[in-house]
Symmetry: C3
């Protein structure tokens, strides 16, 4: 009986064992002194984080494959302390427009990738080459997309003979497209608040805040954000490697990748066996740490074999294994060669990666050689579990799905073009009337879904009944029904 309690005690003690914890700087100590009481949730996340447990010096001793920190040096003062409040929120005070005096320190609220680059420069640089870091500009710098946005998030104003849409206000924009794409932050002044612990204090007022969009424009002029995936204040790679993180912006129906993944064999294995996986290891070892890919495994993480051979390197560029851009605007197409897609012009001069008939705007897209290189890089991941024959046949079907869904989009575009030509639909905006909305459904939801289902082995329902080909063909038939009615060829009385 006694033994039982001794062992039970030991167990409890061991499981309750706190992370050893690195020493904190004096500045961070002072921050924690108040904020641990004011914001216990936030501080607890940090306390349980690797940033609180390991110093940059210790992080740099790891062997190359196990390194989480890419820089080889950090400022002397940060070298042997935990990466705490001060190490991030006091960095480069002169660079941040929201820097304010707070308890004797020059603090800024919004930490940017340029701050994170103090330790993670390689990742920040890679990320700057991803489309995600340009997500705001790629939308707001493209007149066609902002017109589409207006008809989605703006207020409809009925009027005869034609309704219209007002541009959405900034509060709405921050909650809709730019929730994920990222707001532009602007320090617009200060406000004085009465605080529990320190009486009246002055704080900056920041337009566009809060926001964790991937292409946020920060107050030091940098663009992008690390926190959408490496959630504050744990910044946990475990969380980033789980598909729930990607789900925040990719539940669909425009990019339904989380849903497709969750219904795939890979998603089944993740949910069924994840309790036995190790999401925190570096490198991430196939067969030992995990036995089916998550989003991160295919698109970002450094993967290795149990023999420590590198399968693919870490990539925060995220598209260097992507030969195709599946998110059809309006057709799927070879991946853009530059992350700033607002520069793209198709052969008609419109800011689209393809013509209206699907012909790619080749000068702005990667070429066949680069596509092949990326394809092979991607397949090298598949091949750690699947045979070459399997992998190649899978890929062939996937590219067939690109072709057939692009063809369906072309069919829809031709039907609508006929209505435009015939004056059935006004051409002032290409997005604001019923047939135009139905056309959008086809490429934005159904063709995309069918392609993502093909890409991620989540065929079955997402390829067919769950916003897939069933709905695509239904919409085509409905659109054609409208066209015939307008053209007087429907034989209706």
């Amino acid at each position: 009986m006694q033994w039982k309690w001794i062992v039970l005690g030991l167990l409890l003690w061991l499981t309750a064992l706190p992370a050893a914890g690195a020493p904190v700087s004096d500045e961070t100590y002072e921050c924690l002194d108040c904020h641990a009481a004011i914001q216990p949730g936030l501080v607890a996340d940090w306390r349980n984080s690797r940033h609180a447990a390991v110093t940059p010096f210790e992080a740099m001793q790891k062997n190359p494959l196990s390194r989480r920190m890419s820089n080889d040096s950090v400022p002397e003062t940060s070298l042997n302390v935990a990466v705490g409040c001060a190490e991030c929120h006091l960095r480069r005070p002169e660079a941040h427009a929201d820097t304010f005096e707070h308890n004797g320190y020059a603090v800024h609220t919004v930490v940017s990738p340029a701050d994170c680059a103090a330790c993670h420069r390689t990742e920040v640089e890679q990320y700057s080459r991803s489309l995600m870091s340009h997500a705001r500009g790629n939308l707001i710098g493209n007149p066609l997309f902002t017109d589409l946005e207006r008809t989605i998030s703006g207020a409809m104003t009925p009027a005869d003979p034609r309704h219209d849409f007002k541009a959405p206000d900034e509060e709405t924009r921050a909650e809709t497209c730019f929730y994920c794409h990222g707001t532009r932050l602007r320090a617009t002044g200060t406000v004085i608040r009465d605080t529990d612990l320190a009486g009246e204090l002055e704080f900056p007022v920041i337009d566009g805040w809060p926001n964790q969009g991937v292409g946020r424009i920060n107050l030091d002029g940098s663009q992008g954000a690390c926190t959408p995936c490496h959630t504050r204040h744990a910044f946990s790679v475990e969380t980033a490697r789980k598909p729930y993180t990607c789900k925040e912006c990719h539940i669909g129906p425009d990019v339904p990748v989380y849903k497709v993944y969750a219904a795939s064999k890979h998603g089944n294995l993740f949910e069924s066996t994840k309790a036995d996986w190790h999401f925190d290891r570096m490198p991430w070892t196939v067969g030992r740490d995990f036995t089916a890919p998550t989003c991160a495994a295919c698109h970002i993480s450094l993967l290795a074999t149990p023999d420590e051979d590198v399968i693919v390197p870490r990539s925060h560029q995220m598209n260097d294994r992507l030969p195709w851009r599946l998110f059809g605007l309006i057709y799927a197409h070879p991946y853009p060669s530059h992350p700033d897609t607002s520069r793209i012009r198709n052969s008609q001069g419109a800011p689209l990666p393809t013509d209206f008939d699907g012909n790619p705007a080749a000068p702005y897209l990667i070429d066949a050689a680069e596509q092949e290189k990326r394809t092979n890089a991607f397949k090298s991941i598949c091949l750690t579990c699947h045979a070459t024959g399997w992998t190649n046949a899978f890929w062939k079907r996937f590219e067939n799905a690109i072709e057939t869904t692009n063809a369906a989009t072309l069919t829809a575009t031709r039907i609508l073009s006929d209505m435009w030509s015939a004056g059935c639909v006004d051409t002032g905006s290409r997005f604001d009337e019923m047939p135009e909305k139905w056309w959008q459904d086809i490429w934005l939801f159904y063709a995309n879904t069918a392609r993502f289902a093909a890409a991620m082995g989540g065929g079955g329902d997402y390829g067919v009944f769950a916003n897939g080909r069933y709905q695509l063909n239904r919409r085509l038939v409905e659109l054609e029904h409208l066209r015939r009615r307008c053209r007087g060829t429907d034989g209706s009385p």
Copy 2:
């Protein structure tokens, strides 16, 4: 080698350690004697429950913050025994219309909140002030809502010149709206069944049973049910604190809060890190027991800081931190001041919380001061992890979403009103024709979804493409298309 097996043995023994178990009453012992064999699943749930492990006497010794039981006394006979079968199913036999003689005892099948009040009176009283406990009456006592229900769950009867809908039968009702809202239970007689263990026995027949709807009318006349959330027979607070419980009735698309939550940062953290959380602790401590809110954290649970400061008290009223009712019927509006919403009359005398143009039925809704009080109570939860600036800006966007989605509903209502006025749509029922169904989609699904996305930080897809503003505007355009066609202003041939 030997050591290994000793420690392994100890571990197995410890993990298999049964809950110590409180002594059971003689009556409960007799129940278990048969039912453990007949219904092993049900009995196992109870055996693993806190009800089986702790006596009321022990429960009352806890310090106030750790109390799970609100009463300070219980009947002497229940004081030092487990809360077993008999303690609930033999309570107040005279009060229950389904009480029947069973093996010498006066047993009732359906345990009601009034029974639970023997130990949990405070929670039962709070719950009686929630809209949930009135969910049945609020639907069935409102002629507009029952007309809506008829067109949803009833059978369509096509007929020229106008189709109609039959009222749904009671079996269908128990499976549709009243599955969640609650059935009215009625003891209608008895039946004799041949049983394996005791031969022929008589049992009550109960109309409307089974049902775990939140506003169930019980056989002792009480209304409400505890078991929708505190699932029989474990009655587990762990389960009630997980969002899967709320999902049972709130998957949407009318109130898509589970989906919105699951795609939010909070939902991501819950799914990604829940294995390290403690869902059973009392009080529920921010940063120690959990690091992101679940439904219960914001709406119900007693939350504390690690220093044992109370952040918010426990509330089974569930709406005392809710300034707004987002579920637009047909507009979002200040929260009703009384849980019986069937009393509400708008300025036109209709049983709706707003006029048809969105003007609130103010006498029946909380006033601005109460709204502010509830807002501040809610924000006190946000502030345990977020700064004041963040929290206020978030809230401002949320209230902007209420305003803009209400405006969109007004636009839809005006389009439909024009069709009603012009005789394009029959006004016998407001819910049974195509334009009316499309109008319902706008406020019941799309405006609601956009608001819940704003409320719960699940912006992105649910604010836009996933039954959000995209679909809202598409439906507006479609509705306007119908109006123009009917009004002859569509320029169609």
Copy 3:
């Protein structure tokens, strides 16, 4: 301090304890020698599997209730070795059209149920009586269903006066219906590939591969596949017992059973408490190993009480507890009596299990006595947790839902029939025009969803707003709107 590290060390050592592992055959050893390096993920799955840990001889020593292997003998050479690569991929080389010479062995890529029957004959035989094993033929052998498939997965070809659909190509088919239903595999030749470890090698080329569809036609002529549920190469019963496996093909909206389950009380308990369940035990004991059913519990697994009484036997036939087929084609109906449903003819000679008015094709369906037998078998599972009164009332509502949703389908069919009769809709194909698509929505999505919600206690949203009766009645009203417009009875100008 020292103690802590000793115990921590012991714990780590114990948790890292590898499965002991059965001896591998010489042939398997040789396979692993290369493939462990080439495909570490695949090999790791196998190494962690029961196939790697237990020999057939050991498996046969288990008591009957705990047996996972149904055969009483296996080939001598396989008796005392792990079930490794060679034991499956070298079996019956003469039977498989994809057998190829590989490193001195006659290897086949695609392992079939006929191979698995070496140890699991009973399960293979049961499975051959399930509709799943006939899923390919039941679709492709039915001219009505292939016509439906054409309008879903084929390319629409607009043309005046009528559009049409092309039959989908084989790549598309493998990614859509036949992803789940199963492809027909065909060895069409060989290809030589340069490999890292062995230079140029010859491999078979297999049309239709990869595929894990339940009704796959294999290269030994057998039909069906075990791997859709018992995923390669772990073949884990734990995974098969979790609903994520079934979700791969049953996310809906045609058969939305995963969604319905996930929103039911059972699904809530699974998600909330699964960490404490034992998914690997044989038999699967109610109340000890799990406390709410998963898909497998009701449809497949051998369930026992804690006293080792069998509640229901294992059934890979999967339908011997199913009195009804809910998946309405086009009406729900008594379960087919033979798994090959392409034989069915209704009274009009069409390959449908009911007439167009819902009258069952009785000679091809089970009779009332068999329905009752299956109903009672099913209820015996419910009764392990629920009382008889509860269970019977639940079942009555469920059968009422079958009746009312069939009636709604009849209403829809009559509306459409009137349009067919009046020439509003062409009758060349029954599936390719707008009113026909809307009619499909009614029976394929909405009536099905309402029935599955009734069957699985996931009422509430899936019975009403989530593709349930709300959408069903909305579509009925829309369809009737079309009929009236065509018939000129809509009073429109």
